[in-house]
């Protein structure tokens, strides 16, 4: 991540020097920082709501119930999560919310799942294999119907906006399956997490 972040900024400044848009880039910094706060604030409300609902689901044993139901599948994808752990229930709810395009609900549920996985994680600063798998599921984001895209098409006067539903479903499925396969392959190659070894190099593998 260190290199990617550095390169995005480096390329921006070099490109801006070439196109003569240094001023725009400087403005973009202010605007971007402001947008980040807006996004975080916007998330705060909806996040609080879903975290509240999820807490009830957890206390009442609903999440554990879903976890138990999905244990056979979950064992394969998340081998380090113990049986009946609430993380699996959270992951299942996160996946379903994503599938139906409810990203407002999916994010808090995913974060809840992340927190459960962090409890099981041995090195709190570095992502566990299961965390990477959860991330791959979310960065690929399998979705049944791209509602927003259809809305934009309709708003622009499309006669047959639903035409894109099927092709999009094919592509999102290909992406999702590849993401899982890739993350599982990388898991084997990727250096293991360091446990209790400090002072080593910072840039292991990102």
């Amino acid at each position: 991540m260190n290199y990617i972040w550095f390169f995005i900024i480096l390329i921006s400044i070099i490109s801006a020097a070439y196109t003569g848009r240094i001023n725009d880039v400087v403005n973009a910094i202010m605007k971007g920082a402001q947008t980040s706060v807006e996004v975080a604030l916007y998330l705060a409300g909806i996040m609080a709501f879903w975290l509240g609902i999820m807490k009830i689901a957890e206390k009442s044993g609903l999440v554990a119930g879903i976890s138990r139901l999905l244990t056979p599948v979950a064992k394969k994808l998340f081998p380090d999560v113990p049986k009946d752990n609430p993380a699996i229930g959270d992951i299942a709810m996160n996946f379903s919310a994503n599938a139906f395009g409810l990203s407002n609900a999916a994010t808090p549920m995913g974060i809840k799942a992340m927190k459960e996985l962090q409890k099981l994680n041995k090195d709190k600063k570095s992502a566990s294999n299961d965390m990477c798998t959860l991330l791959a599921m979310n960065t690929a984001g399998w979705q049944l119907v791209p509602a927003t895209v259809i809305a934009v098409l309709v708003a622009n006067g499309s006669k047959n906006a639903t035409q894109i539903v099927f092709p999009t479903l094919i592509v999102t499925t290909i992406t999702f399956v590849s993401a899982i396969v890739i993350v599982k392959v990388l898991e084997k190659i990727s250096p293991a997490q360091k446990i209790k070894v400090k002072g080593d190099e910072e840039r292991e593998n990102d």
Binding site: G52, Q118, A155, F176, E204
Partner: protein, 178 residues
């Protein structure tokens, strides 16, 4: 038929989840109101935790968009894109879709209004936008919420899956719409 069913599910899913969770809580004699408050307390804390991660990625992406990099890339890659039958105007969508959700939606709206909603360019862009998640945003938010700084193989997996997604989108669009 399938579409109306999916629409109906999308519409009812949130109220249904809330209802089931609350009902189950009441049946199990959980103090639902207090429990809700207890859980909701974390909302603001999570937002504060992810803010630095968000600023890092959103500022960098804003800089990249403002810098004119995409125009330069369009000029440089015009030949290859033409050969692959990818309209040049879709190029920014390919990059931005992994970086920022609101930005990619803006780009997509522009394409839809410039090229018409039923053009090949718009359809290809639609598939690309509809089949993707903003990888870098998801990484920032999810890892940010628990303070993970080393993303390990999650980053590479996300990027590789994005690339496969772009290839698949071009393949499917060419197959169905060209």
């Amino acid at each position: 038929m399938i579409k109306t069913a999916i629409d109906l599910i999308s519409l009812w899913l949130i109220p249904a989840i809330i209802l089931v969770v609350l009902l189950w809580g009441v049946i199990k004699k959980i103090p639902v109101y207090e429990t809700f408050i207890d859980g909701a307390k974390d909302g603001l804390k999570v937002s504060v935790d992810i803010l630095p991660y968000l600023i890092a990625i959103i500022v960098a992406v804003s800089m990249l968009r403002a810098s004119g990099f995409f125009e330069i890339a369009q000029q440089l890659l015009a030949g290859i894109l033409d050969w692959l039958k990818i309209p040049v105007d879709v190029l920014p969508v390919m990059f931005v879709r992994s970086l920022s959700g609101s930005a990619v939606l803006g780009l997509f709206s522009e394409i839809a209004s410039n090229f018409g909603p039923d053009s090949y360019t718009t359809k290809l862009a639609a598939i690309m936008v509809g089949s993707s998640e903003t990888t870098f945003y998801v990484l920032a938010v999810y890892f940010g919420s628990v303070g993970i700084k080393k993303f390990r193989h999650a980053l590479l997996a996300g990027i590789l899956a994005d690339i496969i997604g772009i290839i698949a989108a071009v393949g499917v669009a060419r197959w169905l719409f060209l």
